[in-house]
Each structure stands twice: as C-alpha cells, then as structure tokens.
Amino acid sequence: MGKKRVAIVGTGQTHHKSHRPDVNGQELIHEAVTRALADAELTIKDIDAIVIGNMDHFEGINYVDCWSVDGSGGTMRPIIKLTTGGTTGSTLAIGGYHMVASGLFEKVLIIGWEKNSESDTTGAITTAFDPIWDRLVFAGAIAGLAAEGQAYMAEFGITDRDAARVSVRDRKHAVNNPYAQLRKEVTIEEVLESPMLSDPIHLLDVCPRTDGACAVIMASEDVAEKICPVPDWIWGTANRHVYTYVGDVNLGEIDSMKNAATELFAKTGIREPRKELDVIELYQPYSFAGIIWIEAMGIIPRGKGSEYIWSGATDMGGELPINPSGGVIACNPIGATGLIRCAEVALQVMGKAGDRQVPDVNLGVSTGFGGCFWTDILLHGKKKPE
C-alpha cells in the first residue's frame, strides 16, 4: 500500500478498427483522452501528470512522450513514457497507480495506444528477442504461444475444440461492446475450420491487429469521490518477468501469472478468487490461454480449466464472467490492450459497462501479458481498500 489510496475516476477509448487512415497517432490519442476527461468531468488543466506508452518499434517513433503532446495534453506538463512490450497497457496502469499512491501527484492521466496498421507486427516483435540466441531461429509471436498450447495439450489431453470454446465465448461477448473491432459471433466448427497458423492455433483462435487508444484517469483518495461518485479503487498490483532466453520459459504453466496472482491475492486478502471475484478481463491473445492462464491465476485447479470453460461459468450470466468486452481476441491495439482490460474492469465496478455490464461487480481482476510469458495483474474493487 502506498501513501495514498488510488481510484480510477474516468475512462475513455476509441472505437477500435483495423485501420484509422483518417487520423495520425496524436489525433487517435486525443480521441481517447477527450473521452476520458469527459467521463470524469475534468479538463486537461486538472491533470497533474501523464503516463503514456505504446509498443517499441511499432510505429517507428521512439520519443512518443514528446511527439504525442498535441493529442495527450502533455504540452508543458510532466509526462513520462513506459513501454514493456505486450504488457505496456497494464504497466502504464501500474505506473500511474504508483505515481498517485506515492502522494506526489493527485490526478494522473494514463494513455496507451497503437496504430498496428503502420508496421509489420512480426518484424517489430522480433526485436524483443535476444539477437544472438533467439532471433535467427525465431518463428513469430504466434509460434511462441502455440508451443505453450502444445505443451499443455500433451499434459492434459485437451484439443483445439476445447480451446475453440474460449474463442466462441469472447467473440460472442464482443457483440455487446460497441468499441470492439471484431463483433461477429462464430461457431466451434468455424474456429476449427479456419486456417491453421501454427499448430494448434487456428486463425479464429488469435487476436487481430488494431488501431486504437485508451485513456484512464487515476486520482488519490483526497479527491476521487468528489470527482466520481462510484470510483474504481485499485486494491493492489503485481508483476513478474521470467526469462532472458525463450528456453528459460516453463511453457504450459505460465509461472509469471501464478507468481503474480499469488502475491496479489495474498496482499489483498483474497482467499478464494473464484468465489470472491465477480469479473475478469484477461489479456488473452489466443484461446488456449483462456484455459491455461485461469488455472495459473488460481481460479480453478490445474487441469480443470477446460471443464470449467465448457460449463459456461465464464460466459455472461455465469458465476465468473471472463472478458465481457470480448477481450483481446476481438480487439488488440497492443500498447492500449492491457489498459483496455483495466478500463473495462473499471467500467464494470463503476456500473458503466452498458450492454456488457455484469450485475453487482464488487471485485474484478485485469491482467496484461507480454511476448514470452510475462504478466501484470491488478485487483479492482468498489469498496475503498483497507
């Protein structure tokens, strides 16, 4: 716990699309920022500091904190950039939380964005890997995920049909989310018949490439409830990185999630996450993760994830809905993706999630995932933390 308790008091996001040729990056950012300010009924003059980030190398613009000030409102304000690969959005949320919790800044604007349409995703992602050992034998981001899926399948005997059920869930949920890029239901058969990208991952098992931005405003306990009648309190955060070389990763088990979730739930007093949590926004870039990673989070015992998914428990109306927004499979502006998870849980806690609202959300979890299996996790709550 920091010096100050911290709450989200406003969120905003763009209507995410595969291409936004009508705006440049600054203008895209500005859309999300103005929506967040409007949501909190604040103006840019109320903001004490800004944290912004996107994926390194994705747009080839490496001083985004400066370059984006027209859109971010950062002109002549304290602004820093954070970028941690796939987890960028959730790291932004954790960084903003630290700034407010420290007592040094009262109201912080947090911005994640990406124009994935402007680069070659695989080329850019390859720069995240070791140049001597991994790059020369690299086969793209999907292959890394696929290797995890294979390892888990071999251990527990699940199939791509089980994973497809996760994709069917998220794509169905996305229909309720006006901001999601892909809003079309699919069937299990359609997932299984879609092209095989990297065994065992089919095209409809994975996330798209998206242009979009998200902004979140965090405020200290001194002002949060004056700004927002039902703010979303951040109960705690945790993050873990696990490897230097890809061969260091324990594929099939995601140790970073297990370790980060254990810390988060221990320090916030959560004993039975499955019973105590009301919603999860999981940074889940492919369907198999929807099974493997909720086991690592401690929602369900190892090996039981698939059965839990098939039971409908994680669908809207189930005991613990996961990804009411449609999640990453429906929408993936990478530098914003983790922050969208955070904003979506905030909307659930605030009761502002519209058609994708889960009733009576008191506690929720948002996560971020990066490249080769590192994890960020945040616990959100309606009640002010102790």
Binding site: E27, H30, T34, T43, E118, G123, P131
Partner: protein, 155 residues
C-alpha cells in the same frame, strides 16, 4: 580436451536481418495541407477558435486549449526565416548535396514555423528575418518535399 583460455576466443558478431516496413497514415488534417501544396500550390493552416493560434503544420486540435481547430485559413506564401543553420558536412540523413540551409520558416498569418530548406541563395547571404516564399516541385506527390525549398522573396 578443449582449450579453456577465453582470451583465445574471437567474439562473433551478427548483423540485423530485421526490416520493419513502416507506413504512416497522414490523417485527414495533414492530408488537406498536403493536397493543398500538391494540387494548388497553397499553404493552409488550422486555427483555434478559442486562442486564435494558427498552426502550420495544421493541428486537428489546439494543443493548449485542447479543443478542435474547426477553422481553416490560407497562410503564406510569403514567409519569414525564424532561425537557420548551414549544414556543411555530408550525412546519410541529408538526402541532398551539402551545403544545405536548414531553417524554420513562419508563413505569413501563421503563429508557428515549419521546418524546411532555403535554396537559390548563397548560404552566406541567409539571415534571420529574411523574407522567403515556397518554390514548388515540378512533379508533386502529396508530401512535404512538394515544396522543393523556400527561396528569397525578392530574387
């Protein structure tokens, strides 16, 4: 048995094989400016309705007031040199033969300057406050080098 003396090892070095083919959308606002120079040889700016600042390059919103810049105004073609330097050493980043005059020029009617080149003049004769105007390229493609350079207004 392998010789264990690491001082006899020559470290290997690898060259990057990664190429990232970026493309950047200019967006509607910048495109309106770029079409103006390409099709009509005109400079257009956006103006903030609140503080009246007039922006080149045109901004969709005023960075200070944080409101949409709804108004378009034609600026220039006359412009003033705000500051400059003469780059005399060839560099990979400079696509033209040196010396080149690298300058900030403020078109008449604009509150901001744009980065460009001064040409058609002995570099020793360029000065701050000098009056210049754009010289447009014969073949124009909708990018900033459709203005070949700024040249002395009297000349």
């Amino acid at each position: 048995m392998i010789d264990q003396d690491l001082s006899k090892v020559t470290p290997q070095v690898y060259e990057s094989k990664i190429g990232v083919p970026y493309t950047w959308w200019a967006g509607d606002t910048a495109t309106r400016f770029l079409e103006g120079i390409r099709d009509r040889g005109e400079l257009w700016a956006t103006r903030c309705g609140k503080c009246s600042r007039t922006y080149v390059p045109p901004r969709k919103n005023c960075p200070g007031c944080f409101e949409e810049n709804a108004e378009w105004v034609q600026v220039g073609p006359g412009a003033t040199v705000v500051t400059f330097t003469v780059a005399r050493r060839p560099l990979a980043a400079i696509p033209d033969p040196v010396p080149v005059v690298f300058a900030l020029v403020k078109p008449d009617g604009a509150d901001t300057a744009m980065l460009h080149r001064i040409g058609d003049v002995d570099p020793e004769k360029v000065s701050i406050g000098m009056r210049v105007k754009p010289r447009f390229a014969a073949e124009r493609k909708g990018h900033i080098r459709d203005i070949e350079c700024f040249v002395p207004e009297q000349g």
